[in-house]
Amino acid sequence: MSDTKTLATVWLDGCSGCHMSLLDMDERLIELSSQFTLVYSPLVDQKVFPEHVDVTLVEGAVASEDDLKKVRKIRDHTGVLVSLGDCALTGNVSAMRNRFGPEPVLLRVYPDGQKAPSTGVPALLDRVRPVHEVVPVDVFVPGCPPSADTIYQVLTELLAGRVPTLEGVAHFG
Amino acid sequence: MNVEELQQIAAAVEGERAQYEYEVNVCMGTSCLAQHSDRIREAIEKEAAGCGKKCRARRTGCMGPCAAGPMVLVEPAGIRYGHVLETDAKEIAESLGRKPVARLDPQLGSYFEGQHFRVLENVGHIDPENVEEYIARGGYEALVKALTEMTPAQVIEQIAKSGLRGRGGGGYPTGLKWDTVAKVKGAQKYVICNGDEGDPGAFMDRSVLESDPQRVIEGMAIAAYAIGATKGYIYVRAEYPLAVQRLTVAIQQARRRGFLGNGICETTFSFDVDIRLGAGAFVCGEETALIASIEGKRGTPRPRPPYPAVSGLWGAPTLINNVETFANVAPVIRKGGEWFASMGTARSKGTKVFALTGKIERTGLVEVPMGMTLRQIIFGIGGGVPDGHKFKAVQTGGPSGGCLPEEHLDLSISYDALITAGSMMGSGGMIVMDDTSCMVSVARFFMEFCMTESCGKCVPCRAGTVQMYELLTKICQGEATRRDLEKLEELCEVVGATSLCGLGQTAPNPVLSTLRYFRHEYLAHIDEKRCPAGVCEIGDARRLAHDAARTEVHA
C-alpha cells in the first residue's frame, strides 16, 4: 500500500469560501499533495465519487434533494468525513431561510408569476440542515471560512493518523 | 377575645342550631356551585318550610366526592345525596325524618372508608362565610391558647414535635422553618401563605380556602406570633374567584372578631392579613417568584440562598408556607404535637389531602393518613378504574412528579417513599391512568406544561424544555431514533442539574419516571413505530416504510 491517502472535497450549499481557504494554503498545498491524492473535488475533473476515499472535506449545508443524496453516498464511501466550515456545521447563512421555508425564497427569485424550474434542478428541502443532522460526521471544523492554517492543521493531523481537535482553536464566524 | 367568649359564641351557634330539627348541608364548592347548588339550597329551604319541617338549609364547603355533585348532606341522619337537581328539592324536604330518597344515593361505596379528616374536619359542617360556626367547632381556641398560655418558642416546639412537613411539595420540616425565621433578627417580618396551586389536576388548596378559610388565617396568625411577624399575605391565583371571595369575607370577619388587627386577644400581639392575587403563572408558586410577584415585580425566581427566611419580602425575614400546611397548625396547638405525630409513618406525620382524578370511578378530594397505600386510595376510596379497563399508572407530584406503575401500588404514601420510587408527594394531585393512556404522551403533556410555564429566566429550562418537548413529539409521531432517546436522557440530566429553580430542576421527572417504568413503550414507538396504547397516531405510511426497510435488511 502506498503512503499517500486519498482525499476528496465536496461542495454542497455553501459559497465556496471554504474551498478558497483551502487554496489559501498556498505552497503548503504542494507539501500536502505528496501525501494526499485528490481523487474527487470541484477543483478536479472527476465525475463519479470513488469507491473508497480516506478523507472527505464537506463544505456547505444540506439544502436540496441532491445534497442529501450526495452526502449519504459520500458517507458510505468515506473513511473520515470532515464537516468543513460553518455552513456544514450549523447551516449558517444557507439555513437562514429556515425561518420562513423555501417558498418565499423561490418567490423572491421568480417573482411576478414566473415559474421556478421543476426539472433539471434538484428540489429544495423544507429545511436546510447541518451535515451531522443527516449523516455521522467525524471531524468538525468551524469557521466562515476556517482559516488556511486551521485546514492545514486538520489535514496534517489526519495524515499523522490522529483525530484533530479544534476545540479552543477555531471559532464560528 | 378569650376562652370564655369563644365558648359563648359556640353556645350561641349551638342554640341557634337547636331550633332546627334537621340540617340540610348543600355543597358550595366550585364544582357543585357550577351546577347551581345555590339554587338547590334555596329550593330545599323553601320546600322544607312549605311542608312545615323545622329545617335549615346551609351552605358548606366542598364535601369531597365532586364527581357525584351537587352534593347534599342531611343531618343529623348523616344521609348523603348526589347529583341533586333543583327539582329534587321537594322530595328531599318531604323525606326529612322519613326514609331517604333512594334514587339520590350518590353510590359512594367505600369512598369514606379509611379517610381521616383533620385538615378537612369542618368541611361539610360549617358555612365558610360564618366565623361563628368555625368557632363553634373549636376554631381560634388554638390562637387564644398560643397567645395566652404559650411563648413563641413553645409554639415552635409543638410544631417541631408534631413532625409536620410542608405540604407545598418539598416536604421541608415546618418546625425547623419557623425556628429559622424566628431566630433571624429583623424589625419587620412577614408571613406568606402560598395558595398559588398551579399543578394541573390539583384542587386541594382551593378547596380548603373555599371551605374553611378561617382555619388558614388562624394558622397564619399562630405562625406570625411564633416568628414575630406583624403582617401576612395570602397569595391566591385570580382563577380562584370563589376562594378569593370567601377569604375576603373571612378576613373581614376575623378582624371584626379581633383575631386580626391590633392587640389580638387582649395581648400586645398585632397581626393583619391581606390578599394578593396571582395571574395564574405556575412559576409564581415558587417562593422567590411569589415574593417578587407580591413586590409588584415580574414573577421570576432568584437563586437561593439567601432563603426567604433570611431575606424574603422586601428583604425582610419571611415565613412562607402552603395553605394545607397552615391548615394543619391549629389542631397541633390545640391537641399537642404528640397527638399530631401519632398518625403517619416514621418521617411523614399526619394526613395528606389528595385531589384524586383521571381514570377513576370516584373523582374527588380525599384526606388520608400518611402511610396509606396507593392501592387503598385508588381502589378502596376511589373505587378503581372504571369501564372494565386495567390500571396502568398513577401520577403524583404534578409536573415535578412521576408515574408509578402497578408494582408500586402497595407503596405506603410518605415523602421519602415516593421520592425513592421516582415520584414525589408534590402538593397532592393524584392522577390515575388506565391502559388507554400512552405513557410517552403523558410525559409529553407534562413537558409541554413545563415548557409553557417556564419563566424564561435561565436557559436550561427555557430552551431545554423546548428541546425535550420536541424530542417527545418526535417519539410520539414515530419519527425518533435511538439516538434521539439518548439525547432526551442527556437533556433530562443537564436540565435537572443546571436549572435555576425547582420548575426546571424537576421538569425532567415525568420523563425519567416513565422511562424507568415504561421504557418498553418508548421503544415500541421508536423501534416498531407503534403506540402500544393506540393513542399516538403514527401514520400508516411511516409504519409501512419502516416495515419495508426492515424486510430489505432481512432479505
Binding site: P142 | P460, T498
Partner: protein
C-alpha cells in the same frame, strides 16, 4: 468586627485561597486567575444567576451552585472544572446557540461576541441539538441603536444597566419561557420610547450582537462595558 474575622479561607480547584466574607466564589476565583465561564454576570451590575455557565461543584452541596451569586464560606472546597461540569456547560451553551438565530458569520458582533468566544473557550465545535429558527423581529426605530432579537441571549444585562445605573428603566422583559423578549417601555418601538435617554449603556453591556450601534462595522463594534465598575466606585464614593 476585626479585619481577620471577615476573611474566609477556602480551596478552589485545590488551590488554597482567602477571600473577604462578602465575596462570591466567582470574585475570589478571578482574583486568583482561576477561570470560570460566565455570560449573564457583568462586574458593576447585580447578579441574576441566569446563564448557568458559572455552575461549580461545592463539596457537600446537593446541587451545583452558581459561582456568581454564591458567597465564599470558611473551609469551602470548590471545583470549577470536571468532566461532568464541562459536559453540562457545553450543553447549556448548545441550548443557547440552538434557541435563536446566532449566525456568527453575518453578525455585527462577529469577533467581539461573548457567546462566540465562549464556544471557542469551552471547545464547542458544533451544536447537536436541532436549531429552533424562531421568527424574531429586529427593531431599528431608534436613530442610533438597533435591537436584533435573533441574537439575544436574555442575559438581562441591558435591563439591569438601564435600571440600576442609568435609572431610566426603559428595558424590561415580557412573555415567558422561550417567548420571552426584552422590550423597551411597554413594547413601544425603541425609537418612540419616552424614557430612553439614548445613553447607550445597554449597547455597551450587551454580550452579543443583539444590541448594536448603527453605522459601525468590524473592529468598531467591540463593546466597552469597562466603565461600569469605575462608575459604581465613583458613585459609592459620592454617597459617602
Amino acid at each position: 468586627m476585626s479585619a481577620e474575622a471577615n476573611i474566609r479561607t477556602l480551596t478552589i480547584d485545590e488551590v488554597d485561597i482567602s477571600a473577604r466574607a462578602d465575596e462570591t466564589i466567582l470574585e475570589a476565583a478571578r482574583e486568583h486567575n482561576i477561570d470560570i465561564p460566565t455570560l449573564c454576570h457583568l462586574e458593576g451590575l447585580s447578579e441574576v444567576g441566569a446563564c448557568r455557565l458559572c455552575l461549580v461543584e461545592v463539596k457537600g452541596a446537593r446541587r451545583l451552585l452558581p459561582a456568581c451569586v454564591t458567597r465564599v464560606e470558611e473551609g469551602m472546597e470548590v471545583t470549577t472544572h470536571s468532566a461532568k461540569i464541562d459536559r453540562y456547560r457545553q450543553m447549556v451553551l448548545e441550548l443557547f446557540f440552538a434557541e435563536r438565530n446566532h449566525v456568527c458569520s453575518v453578525c455585527v458582533a462577529n469577533g467581539h461576541c461573548e457567546l462566540q468566544s465562549l464556544a471557542l473557550r469551552l471547545g464547542m465545535t458544533h451544536v447537536e441539538l436541532p436549531y429552533q429558527y424562531p421568527q424574531l423581529p429586529v427593531d431599528a426605530s431608534h436613530p442610533r441603536f438597533t435591537v436584533d432579537h435573533n441574537r439575544c441571549v436574555l442575559c438581562t444585562r441591558c435591563v439591569r444597566v438601564c435600571g440600576e445605573v442609568e435609572g431610566a428603566n426603559t428595558w424590561g422583559v415580557m412573555g415567558r419561557g422561550a417567548q420571552s423578549l426584552v422590550i423597551t417601555d411597554l413594547k413601544e418601538p425603541w425609537g418612540e420610547s419616552e424614557t430612553c435617554t439614548s445613553c447607550g449603556k445597554c449597547v455597551q453591556v450587551c454580550p452579543t450582537g443583539a444590541l448594536f450601534e448603527k453605522n459601525r462595522a468590524g473592529t468598531k463594534t467591540a463593546k466597552h462595558p469597562e466603565f461600569l465598575p469605575y462608575l459604581r466606585i465613583m458613585r459609592e464614593g459620592e454617597q459617602r
